[in-house]
Amino acid sequence: MLQAPDPTQALNLTLRADRGRILAALIARVRDFQLAEEALQDAATSALAHWSRSGIPSRPEAWLIRVAFRKAIDRLRSHSRDSARDTAMTVLAQDEAEEDPMDIPDDRLRLIFTCCHPALEPKSRVALTLRTIAGLTTADIARAFLDTEPTMGQRLSRAKAKIAAAGIPFRIPDPEDWPDRLNSVLTVVYLIYNAGYTSGPTTGQDLCREAIFLARLLTTLAPSDAEVEGCLALLLLTHARADARISPEGLTLPPAQQDRSLWDTHMLTEGLATLDSAMARRNPGPFQIKAAIAALHTAQNGPGWPQIAALYTRLLAFEPTPVIRLNHAVAVSEAGGLGEALIHLADIEPELADYQPFNAAKADLLARSGRAAEAHTAYAKAIALSDSPADIAFLLQRQSLLSH
């Protein structure tokens, strides 16, 4: 392989590529997040010293995993002895002696299920997945979620402590639990994407990329799962349009009004192919339905609204939430059922009265029904609830177009 010019750079490259995998192998054996992280940190420190002295090994990742196992044994030795620690040490010693340590099975899928366990707070699942699987630093994660580094550090420690103390297992769920538990994992991936997406096109790019990386990783770790492919397809089909979602004047644009030349056609094609592959498995689920809706928004001759409305009806069977009912109502209105859509909105108003997208949708529906005065009030409320300047600009423009 190509020799990297200096040890620090070689170490960073190796960690970026293999940190999650090495950590998963360690946690699978020692059952202790903290100890695993410390052992890997010890190994990294040792790598810098050794590689500066004796040159970078031909396979830095194999070197690192072997030394990390040895460091874990050292740390276990200094702990008080019990049977679980003895077992862990025996397993580590065997694997450390492997001809090629990279031959040991990839344990990252088990690790992802542990990090996204429903017994953890949703925000902690997101943070732990980014830290452990994607290898972001605590500082990066804190910045992305507008937290201070100590606060995020405490959140991560609490989550790791609960995993250990509450006996959250490090294993792939039983088949009867698989759909629910996988949905919890994919929701974490989607939340990561969404955090990147809503924080704007430049600052959020990294989280969007991390989410796509995680979804891709899942398609290799659980290769024949339709929902995993559905999730990757959803992210690709959304991300392909990311550069076009804000107009040159700084307004948020719905897909139908976006400049298609700004869409990433390569990513779009991959997203559509991934969705096809998922649907061919004939095992529908919420992520596949959302991806299919995203695909219909990109249709050459404009969004296919009647189909989108029908898909939202199917999605409601999986997720009967007011937000999905709102999206369904919007699709119904676009498909020609304006009156029916307004009845749906009235049904969900008590639950969504302070939700920005609800008020924006209500304003639009009222405007299209010729109820200008009510639309004006609804736009004002939507604007008051908006955080993003692009959304405010868009809504102000729509409000100014109302006939008085």
Binding site: I168, P169, D177
Partner: protein, 115 residues
């Protein structure tokens, strides 16, 4: 690992005593206890009499203060428990979801401390 499943429910939220639904509900408890025993997961489990029978106390300045009623006045009362021996939280949660009161109350699952 041992887990304690604490069964909380609001009074009168379950089926009323003497109705066929109540019989089904109690049969559900008997069947669940039998299942735990069959799986070797049963350590202990009991229902508790109502909070109107509860007495709380604390020792302050060497003196016992006794009070009528439960520790905390909440809408949902602690009505029973199961102590289970299972390999991990997932197994404990799976069993806890089978407790008949889970359908209208809340089950809190806590790992038991080992010394």
């Amino acid at each position: 690992m041992q887990y304690l499943a604490l069964i909380y429910a609001a009074p009168n939220s379950g089926p009323a005593y003497g109705t066929p639904e109540f019989k089904t509900f109690m049969d559900g408890y008997f069947a669940f206890t039998a299942l735990l025993k069959e799986k070797g997961a049963f350590v202990a489990g009991d229902g508790l009499k109502g909070t109107d029978t509860a007495t709380s106390l604390r020792l302050r300045g060497g003196k016992v203060e006794t009070m009528d009623g439960p520790f905390a006045e909440t809408k949902e009362h602690l009505g029973g428990y199961y102590l289970m021996e299972v390999p991990d939280l997932d197994t404990a949660l799976k069993y806890a979801a089978m407790i008949p009161s889970a359908a209208f109350g809340t089950i809190e699952v806590r790992p038991v401390m080992t010394y």
